[in-house]
Symmetry: C2
Subunit: 288 residues, 2 copies
């Protein structure tokens, strides 16, 4: 069973040695049509909602005619739609498909009432995040009109090491992912950001032991956050529920009891066995 690394990892040219003397290394970038189509779709992001054909061609590195054909087929399939004269954006069809993801929009639908519960209790920014590779992606955000807008835009990709929600996800990630993060560069955002691998290991162990992660000033100077795990059908951690607020609004760890209830409720709805029955020792009902 060959498990393909789910990250194409940029440009692994080494797989095709074939050192033909006349091979042009520049344009030898032949990948499968499926991957090309995905690359075209990947051009779009919450920060780049609308692109022209030329922009797509440049972003993907595809020739104009090729980009034109692929985009045309994506439009025919409803994945993209034209907006205006020269411009494309992601179509509703793709949103429908994405809505089926149990880690994305589907999870958002299920989780919404629980986020509301947390919001009712805290009146602060409530977030639900999942892990994708070595990054964290927010799938849902609930922020009242009067709460501080610390973070914006669902779908933004962030580091796993700088927020409470991220640390929860990293602490329960597979070992290989953790090692990958620990060996990679740990970017510093503030003076409090943890950048020492060994120190981070200690933090992660603590997160596993206590069942929550609280940070203060690690991403921005006056922001603090707290996250707790949300578990799925196999009791593995599928998401992290957290609150982000300005420092001083509350002690981070005081948020833990508020988060635990909704997190357990959500885990139960997701089919987590450990959340199925209310155990007497709720705070450490699950191994690790």
């Amino acid at each position: 069973m060959v498990h393909v690394s789910h990250r194409p990892a940029g440009r692994p040219d080494a797989t095709s040695p074939a050192p033909r003397s006349d091979v042009v290394p520049l344009a030898s970038r032949r990948d499968s049509p499926t991957q090309r189509a995905l690359r075209v779709l990947a051009c779009f992001s919450p920060t780049r909602r609308e692109l022209s054909l030329t922009q797509i061609a440049v972003a993907t590195g595809l020739p104009m005619s090729t980009a034109h054909r692929i985009v045309g087929e994506l439009v025919g399939g409803g994945a993209l739609v034209r907006s205006g004269k020269s411009g494309y954006h992601v179509g509703i069809r793709l949103c429908e498909i994405a809505a089926s993801s149990p880690h994305g929009t589907g999870l958002r639908e299920i989780s919404w009432p629980y986020l509301e519960d947390v919001y009712e209790a805290t009146r602060e920014n409530v977030l639900l995040a999942v892990r994708d590779g070595v990054d964290m992606v927010y799938v849902a955000r609930l922020s009242g009109r009067d709460s501080v807008p610390v973070l914006r835009d669902v779908g933004r990709r962030r580091s796993l090491t700088t927020t409470g929600t991220g640390l929860v996800l990293l602490a329960h990630a597979p070992t290989e992912v953790q090692e990958q993060v620990l060996h990679g560069p740990l970017r510093r955002y503030t003076s409090k950001t943890v950048t020492d691998p060994d120190e981070l290991r200690v933090v992660l162990a603590e997160v596993r032991r206590t069942g929550y992660a609280a940070t203060e000033g690690t991403l921005a100077p006056r922001a603090m956050g707290c996250g707790v795990p949300v578990r799925g059908a196999n009791d593995e951690v599928v998401a992290s529920l957290g609150v982000v607020a300005h420092s001083g609004a509350a002690q981070p760890r005081m948020l833990v009891p508020v988060l635990m209830g909704p997190a357990r409720g959500l885990s139960r709805e997701l089919g987590a066995p450990s959340a199925r029955r209310s155990l007497p020792g709720t705070r450490r009902s699950c191994p690790v």
Copy 2:
């Protein structure tokens, strides 16, 4: 400019039950790899969140080996992820991309506060819908815990002719779309469902004239709804904001004033010129 019908139309290969042993190009029904990849993705829906490889192969009509290759590439690109041993579901990567759609998740993000405003005022199911082809798709739904669950699941596809929100979208759709719907079969859900094309034309004209659509008992016997248009940057109708509730909870048209404010606010945030300045006739320029 060739406008491809955006519906690939199921499976036309059942037409060759007699595979002659000669050169009959039964496999000539080949579509482009891009379209194949989209067909694979389109297998997933909110009602079919997890599929095995065999299920995908059957659903798309692709041979196993072909389906295996395409699915593998989609997994490599992050569009699909494995769940368990035999099973795939839509990946977060696709949700990120979909989050950039101004007609989908992006619209949902923007619209949420306005939906909340309507909910605060009505305590009923609040919906935001857009049109895709001759169907309506809900992009956001807000229903309180205690409100009647009349409709479920964002991303579900519905008819344009049976709800207030749908009628608004249809009334402001391009003429060709309206004709297509009017000439097609008009499915009857209840005894009150409008199925006569001429009668529907009158209804649509009334919707355009009054600026809202109210229905009662057209989809389900004891359900009523009301919808108003939401306009975009070109002042064209991009979405429909509506409320669905049990009959008797309120007069449908009494919901109109409640809907108009948030709808105008949302339109303004989307850049609609007509909502830019508060017109004299408008009874409330700011959301409730």
